[in-house]
């Protein structure tokens, strides 16, 4: 029988469960993700830095962990993991190790055998909040004190923890079976474009999709000055996804201001929020965020609905960038902003994740759209 573990939320709710993964203690913002598959991608997504993830699906670990489906180097980025039942007998031809071993390898504390549906309903009704998982301190009151004393997630610039230290080139395309079913994006003989990706915690799948879209990809650290990037003279610039509150990454906002109008820009998730702030707009926090792979997003230009991969707690208030950008995508669940386009400049951005990983590939065409925007711009 596994050891005991406790989860205590900032509002004092206590769940008693069993430990899996590593032993220890961890604090983070507790959020729930409604994807049935994709725990490996979720755990390695740098956007989950500072957060403890609870999976709403009850059977986790089924297919183990493989070598291909990682979204960042250096292993797991989430602070902790909460599941109803962690199955420790992975079954999949690509599986290399079990989830339990993977969590242990990266010293990530997990808790299982709690009512994750009750936890999810609690977070839905009371909002995402800080929480602590511990296997060494089993006193709920003491854990409650610790989590109360801990600052909220918005107090930190989490980007600096996850961005690359060095600039690098990325050349790998999509895994042969994860490439979207769309026709090849770059036709034979067509010249390859070049993009610079600002790494605020970039997911590898963004880079893979850019390669598929016919780009030479250079990834630069989050703090890279705009001037340096412009000197590299790329065809376009990507502002990547990343963790935390966009208002804490002031340097990125400033750099973005300098890049606007100089180069075509495509923002994804945190990158989208940074664009909003760079335009002088404001961002706001959602009660419990969007984390999952089933949110319908409507492309307002075509009327088409795409099922999207979502992972964000903040949104851009589209009213605050009125005159500069117009709303292009809307979330059909709660009507929140999902994408915008600059009224004059070749800049667009989306709140959801066109790169999927995990989640549907419905929006993968946005990489092609970026390519077309660049080509239109070059002409």
């Amino acid at each position: 029988m596994s050891d005991k573990a406790l989860l205590v939320l900032r509002d004092g709710i206590v769940f008693e469960g069993e430990n899996f993964g590593s032993e220890g203690e961890t604090i983070g913002e507790v959020v729930f993700n409604t994807s049935i598959t994709g725990y490996q991608e979720i755990l390695t997504d740098p956007s989950y830095k500072g957060q403890i993830v609870t999976m709403t699906y009850s059977q986790i670990g089924n297919y183990g962990v493989n070598e291909e489906d990682i979204e960042s180097i250096g292993g797991i980025k989430a602070e902790g993991f909460i599941v109803k039942e962690a199955l420790d007998f992975p079954s999949n031809w690509r599986s290399k190790i079990s989830l339990n071993e993977y969590l242990k390898k990266y010293s990530i504390v997990g808790i299982q055998d709690i009512d994750t549906r009750a936890l999810t309903r609690h977070l839905r009704n009371h909002g995402a909040q800080m929480g602590i998982i511990s296997t060494k301190d089993l006193n709920p009151e003491s854990l409650f004190k610790k989590v109360k004393a801990h600052p909220w997630i918005s107090a930190f610039d989490l980007v600096k923890d996850v961005t690359t230290k060095e600039q690098y080139q990325w050349t790998e395309g999509c895994w042969k079976w994860c490439s979207p079913p769309h026709p090849p994006l770059a036709k034979g003989g067509q010249r390859r474009g070049s993009v610079v990706v600002y790494d605020f915690g970039v997911k590898f799948n963004i880079l893979r999709n850019l390669v598929e879209a016919g780009f030479d990809v250079t990834v630069v650290p989050a703090q890279t000055p705009a001037e340096e990037v412009l000197e590299m003279n790329p065809d376009g610039i990507i502002l990547s996804n990343g963790p935390g509150d966009p208002q804490t990454v002031t340097y990125a906002i400033e750099n973005t201001k300098k890049l606007m109008g100089k180069k075509p820009i495509f923002g994804i998730c945190l990158g989208h929020q940074i664009l909003g702030l760079a335009m002088g707009g404001r961002t706001y926090k959602l009660k419990f965020g969007h984390h999952g792979g089933n949110h319908p997003v409507k492309d307002l230009a075509t009327g088409r609905v795409e099922i999207t991969s979502q992972n964000h707690n903040y949104c851009v208030d589209i009213e605050s960038v009125k005159g500069q950008a117009k709303l292009t995508h809307k979330n059909l669940y709660d009507g929140t902003e999902e994408g915008m386009q600059h009224v004059e400049l070749p800049i667009f951005s989306v709140q959801h994740h066109p790169e999927a990983g995990p989640g549907p590939n419905d929006s993968a065409h946005l990489f092609k759209r970026f390519r077309e925007m660049i080509e239109g711009n070059i002409c």
Partner: protein
């Protein structure tokens, strides 16, 4: 896009009778579609030959035709109704095939009817193997390599492109006869040679084997704007090689990574686009090689299906309803999600539980059938269950099946038997796997024998390991026998058993299984659970894994651990929703700080989302998985009970576990609990809901069995009391009752041993009908003509004992059987319908055709039957429905059976008369009088409605088509017209038994029938039909002055009767047999008739009805009339 205004009237085709492969899931989808279309303001015209459906209720469509599902009949309907559009995707393969026929013979064009949902080209592309293969190759997807082969030469060429092992499937053989797997060229040529000979069209499909690959299904929906969503993914527990309808299936898919799932999702989207299904749902099946992930597309159904019904119930997303709305031009984002209300239908449901479906089989009914599970579907029903984990869901599904299993009971099997039962897929394989684990076989070995994914097997291993923990927890020194239901003397120790019990319940163990493991009774375990506060909680099926608030109380039970707050002091609730504390005796007192870490149950609250209301409410127990003898008819009755109680202002609570049905549509009742129908699961719900009473009389035997145990627990049973039910079911008490009323019964006796049986039979006089007591659907019931057969029966079929006596009844040979349905409020009794069977008494009433009103009985007899019915209803103090079976012989009336509950014939009688008996009965059960609800008297009808049974014989190779006292039919049809002959002809046509009006009829009857057949032959001759008879029959006819052509029996040399059938020179066959030898001799006649689709009858009474039908068919053109018209005319009388 707004809905279309250029169409006003839409024709919907139902799926016809319940057969293997097409069951009540199409009543569910069709009913949803009708409701959805009318909600949008369209007029709906419906045609379906199955009267036992909710969809054919007169309120569901604007015009309802209970008519044969043939292209010419539908053309008549189109001509009369002039619909603008035809929606072909709601009635299974039947509707789809008819739509194709109507399109290809240009009927649709002629009457300007547009196909909506799926166009002809899309249907063809999905259904035609070659076109489908080509389409898949266009979008870069693989299908298993295959070829149709018409000769050995072809076959040898084709095999070069197909790697071994190869599967061979001869075309159009019954039950997949002659198919097989070839692992090498030698086996291949042998199988091919055999297959080519067996196939009536000399064609064999040769296919690359994907047996043992992982099998998946995706349910896809598309709208006119090309938005596509996946509603549900399903992973089959049984790998490729077992038909998905016969497979245990699990939702969602369990062993695919996100990349692999998305690849499949992308493929599914590409497929629905490439095939060109405009709008609606499709089901797409994939196979994945477990070694390397290679994915091939198996097939696509461009329509709603059994899987889509399952997916709808599994996710809460009503596929058929949405598909109907998409078909008229609405888009997914324009349709709200009923469950969350605020979010649109353009999303993909996500779930936080596991759904398991297990099929239910009926091999015990077809002893000669091969019980191996193959690519040909053989199951007759299914149960679905929901649990938070696969383990819980699987174990709940076991007890939902109602096959006497409450967990993984031990199987007695030698190691070699065990291996054989693992290797060859069969209905009990699940239990054999558990036994193999128990016996120490490694998961790896089990995997290599079964190819069932190790993930599933490892979960089963955990269940078996938990059994050991349970056994180990019963305390020191107690040796409880694990298979006895009697209690051991040792008291239960909550301290040792409590924590284990909690874990066991989380794993889905039933109280009964736990009890069996530790030698206790179920009641003792229940008591212990209640003492330690270990009760299930209810979670919602909400389409969104709790991301949004759900408004539709669609629930399942689970066991969860409590949680608590460090901040809140005693007595305060921290929860926004008023959750009743479920666990812990002092659970309103929140736990003290720093509570001891226990395995739960010591404090805090367990969150339950049941939120029972304070309304007056009634629980209706459903009928569980479909089986032969208990099918859609009972679901129909339960649904009517719900409708009736809603009308009376009650909150209705449905408990059922059959995913195919209308009753488990969350739209039907106010609250739906998708739960097994066992005393444990039902009681737990009743404890939470506290209803005024429970209705057990509408769902067949399943809920009826619970009547007495529930009453014992203090639950109020509404309507006729369990004691009255027992008075009718208990032989002794029933005999006394009949004696009191001075009514007649065939002589009968009870025997505890073969000797006693022989004695009884001698006293009563042969022939006698023998059967075990308390059986359903006439199981193991036989008619024996002499002592030898009787003793053989006693040895073979039953184990007689004082607890399980055998019933011996005088068999009333040649008697006419009559069914009566009546309704009583305790004061008045009104007869709903008197039905005269066409087949004689002795053939199970569920298998017999019958006519309402009676077609040959005289009025005096019918009046006397009604009088007797009323007397019995009064004596039994029936409140609600009652069914009586009579036998009439030489103007004497015998009572065969009385059932004070809803019968199989209720929907048929209701459709025939326009009186909704079940609905009225439900109101009566809640205290209304018949006068109050406006039922003044019996309804006289001026038309005739004939019910005919439909059989699954063509699914099972080696099974005879002879009818007997054991019920074998899966479904029924109704033919309705102005006269008996035409109504009978329509009923036969609805069963694909087209009665000929010219050509040749072959007759071969047993000696007892030779006199009776003379008139039949004379009449056939008069109508210009040629009669051919076997020697004995011909000789008898000749003696009577009737000359007919003689044909050899099979053993008499060639050309013989089977040659005639194969050469398609016969239009109808009349074949009756008496003893077993004759039955064996003539078996090949009936079998070839089945294979070559020659209509036949196996009784003389059936033959007479056929003559009657031919007469009417020759006299007048077949015409159609809607149910609404039939009943309107009568109301105007």
């Amino acid at each position: 896009m707004p809905k279309r205004t250029d169409i006003k009237k839409i024709l919907l085709i139902g799926s016809g009778p319940i057969v293997i492969g097409q069951a009540c899931e199409f009543d569910y989808s069709g009913t949803q579609a009708c409701k959805a279309l009318r909600e949008e303001g369209y007029k709906v015209v419906l045609v379906n030959s199955n009267p036992a459906t909710i969809m054919t209720d007169p309120e569901i469509a604007d015009a309802t035709y209970i008519e044969p599902l043939t292209a010419d009949i539908i053309e008549l309907i189109i001509k009369k109704e002039r619909p603008d559009a035809l929606l072909p995707t709601m009635g299974g393969q039947t509707a789809l095939n008819l739509a194709v026929e109507l399109a290809e013979n240009r009927v649709l064009e002629k009457y300007s009817v547009e196909l909506i949902g799926a166009k002809l080209h899309a249907i063809k592309k999905a259904e035609d193997r070659e076109l489908f293969k080509e389409a898949m190759s266009n979008i870069g997807l693989e299908v298993p390599k295959s070829a149709y082969v018409g000769s050995m030469k072809d076959g040898l060429e084709s095999i070069e492109n197909i790697v071994f092992p190869a599967i061979l499937r001869p075309s159009f053989t019954l039950g997949g006869t002659g198919g097989g797997i070839a692992y090498n060229i030698e086996e291949y040529t042998e199988l091919l040679d055999k297959g080519l000979k067996l196939s009536p069209v000399h064609q064999v499909l040769v296919e690359e084997s994907v047996i043992g690959w992982k099998e998946y299904e995706l349910e896809v929906m598309r709208d006119t704007k090309d938005n596509v969503v996946i509603i549900c993914s399903i992973e089959n527990f049984d790998p490729m090689g077992v038909h998905t309808g016969d497979s245990i299936t699990v939702a969602p898919a369990q062993t695919l990574t996100d990349k692999e799932y998305q690849r499949m999702r992308d493929a599914a989207i590409a497929i629905i686009r490439e095939i060109g299904v405009d709008t609606g749902g499709s089901n797409i099946q994939f196979a994945v090689n477990p070694e390397n992930g290679r994915m091939v597309v198996i097939e696509m159904n461009p329509r709603v299906s059994r899987s889509s019904a399952l997916a709808s119930k599994a996710t809460g997303f009503p596929i058929a309803k949405i598909a109907a709305k998409l078909a008229v031009g609405l888009t997914l984002d324009e349709i709200p999600n009923d469950i969350t209300r605020e979010t649109p239908a353009s999303f993909e449901p996500t779930i936080d539980y596991v759904v398991t479906k297990i099929p239910r089989f009926a091999f015990e009914k077809f002893k000669e059938a091969d019980p191996t599970l193959t690519t040909q579907m053989k199951s007759v029903g299914e149960a679905m269950s929901i649990g938070r984990t696969f383990k819980e869901s699987l174990q709940k599904a076991l007890r939902s099946l109602e096959i006497g299993s409450y967990g993984f009971e031990e199987m007695n099997a030698s190691p070699s038997e065990l291996k054989a039962n693992l290797k060859i897929p069969n209905a009990e394989r699940l239990w054999y796997i558990a036994q193999a684990i128990r016996d120490g076989m490694s998961i790896d070995e089990i995997y290599r024998l079964t190819w069932i994914d190790p993930w599933f097997l490892n979960n089963m291993r955990q269940i078996v390991e938990m059994e050991e923990e349970i056994k180990g927890s019963r305390g020191q020194g107690v040796k409880g026998s694990s298979d006895k239901m009697t209690s051991s003397l040792e008291p239960l120790n909550p301290r040792t058993l409590g924590p284990v019990l909690r874990s066991a319940k989380e794993f889905g163990f039933s109280d009964r299984r736990v009890a069996a493991l530790i030698g206790k009774t179920e009641a003792e375990i229940r008591k212990l659970r209640n003492e330690i506060g270990l009760r299930p909680v209810y979670k919602m099926v909400d389409t969104c894994a709790a991301e949004f608030e759900a408004h539709t109380p669609y629930m399942y039970s689970t066991y969860e651990k409590p949680f608590y707050s460090v901040k809140v002091s005693k007595g305060q609730s921290i929860f926004a929703t008023a959750n009743p504390p479920v666990c812990g005796k002092d659970s309103d007192a929140l736990p003290p700080l720093n509570p001891p870490l226990t395995k739960g149950g010591q404090g805090g609250v367990v969150e339950s989302e049941a939120n029972p209301s304070n309304r007056k409410k009634v629980v209706i127990l459903g009928s569980g998985p479909n089986r032969i003898g208990q099918g859609i008819e009972f679901d129909y009755c339960c649904v009517h009970a719900v409708f009736a109680l809603k009308e009376l202002g009650y909150e209705t609570i449905m408990i059922n576990c059959n995913p195919e049905t209308v009753s488990t549509d969350y739209d039907t009742s106010d609250r739906l609990y998708f739960e097994p129908l066992t005393i444990e699961d039902v009681l737990s719900i009743i404890e939470v809901e506290k209803p005024e009473g429970v209705i057990v009389q509408f769902g067949g035997q399943t809920p009826l069995k619970l009547a007495v145990p529930l009453e014992k627990e203090g639950v109020k049973i509404l309507g006729t009391t369990p004691d009255s039910i027992d008075r009718a079911e208990d032989r002794k008490r029933f005999k006394e009752l009949l004696h009191k009323l001075n009514l007649k019964q065939a002589d009968s006796d009870t025997a505890m041993s073969p000797d006693e049986a022989a004695g009884a039979a001698k006293k009563i006089g042969y022939p006698v009908m023998v059967r075990p007591s308390y059986v359903l659907g006439g199981r193991a019931m036989e008619i024996v003509y002499d002592e030898n057969s009787l003793l053989d029966y006693m040895k073979r079929a039953v184990k007689a004992s004082p607890e399980h006596p055998v019933l011996v009844d005088k068999y009333l040979e040649g008697a006419i059987e009559v069914d009566v349905d009546a309704i009583s409020d305790g004061i008045d009794v009104i007869v709903g319908g008197v039905m005269e069977h066409i087949e004689e008494a002795g053939i199970h009433s569920g298998d017999s055709a019958c006519s309402l009103p009676p077609y040959s009985l005289n009025k005096n007899i019918v009046d006397e039957i009604k009088k007797q019915t009323k007397a019995m209803a009064k004596e039994l103090n029936v409140i609600g429905l009652m069914n009586v079976q009579f036998a009439v012989k030489n103007n004497d009336i015998y009572i065969l059976e009385v059932n004070p509950r809803a019968s199989r014939t209720i929907p048929y009688v209701s459709k025939a008369t326009g009186v909704p008996l079940a609905k009225l009965a439900a109101k009566v059960m809640l205290g209304k009088t018949l006068k109050e609800i406006g039922l003044a008297g019996e309804k006289e009808i001026r038309h005739v409605a004939v019910k005919e049974a439909v059989f699954p014989f063509d699914r099972f190779s080696g099974v005879d088509t002879i009818l007997g006292p054991e019920m074998k039919s899966t479904g029924e049809v109704m033919g309705i017209d102005e006269d008996f002959g035409t109504a009978y002809a329509k009923a036969q046509l609805s069963c694909n038994n087209r009665i000929p009006t010219s050509g040749k009829i072959v007759i071969s009857v047993r000696d007892e029938d030779k006199e009776g057949i003379c008139d039949v032959v004379r009449q056939l001759h008069n109508m210009g039909i040629e009669v051919i008879a076997t020697r004995g029959t011909a000789q008898h006819l000749k003696n009577k002055g009737i000359d007919v052509e003689v044909i050899n029996k099979v053993k008499e040399g060639r050309p013989h009767i089977v040659d005639l059938i194969k050469n398609r020179e016969v239009n109808f066959i009349i074949n009756t047999v008496s003893d077993a030898q004759a039955q064996r001799d003539s078996f090949s006649i009936r079998r070839s008739a089945l294979q070559y689709r020659v209509p036949y009858t196996t009784t003389v009474s059936g033959a007479r009805a056929v003559v009657n039908a031919i007469e009417m068919l020759l006299k007048k053109e077949i015409s159609i009339k809607s149910i609404q018209e039939y009943h309107k005319n009568e109301n105007n009388q």
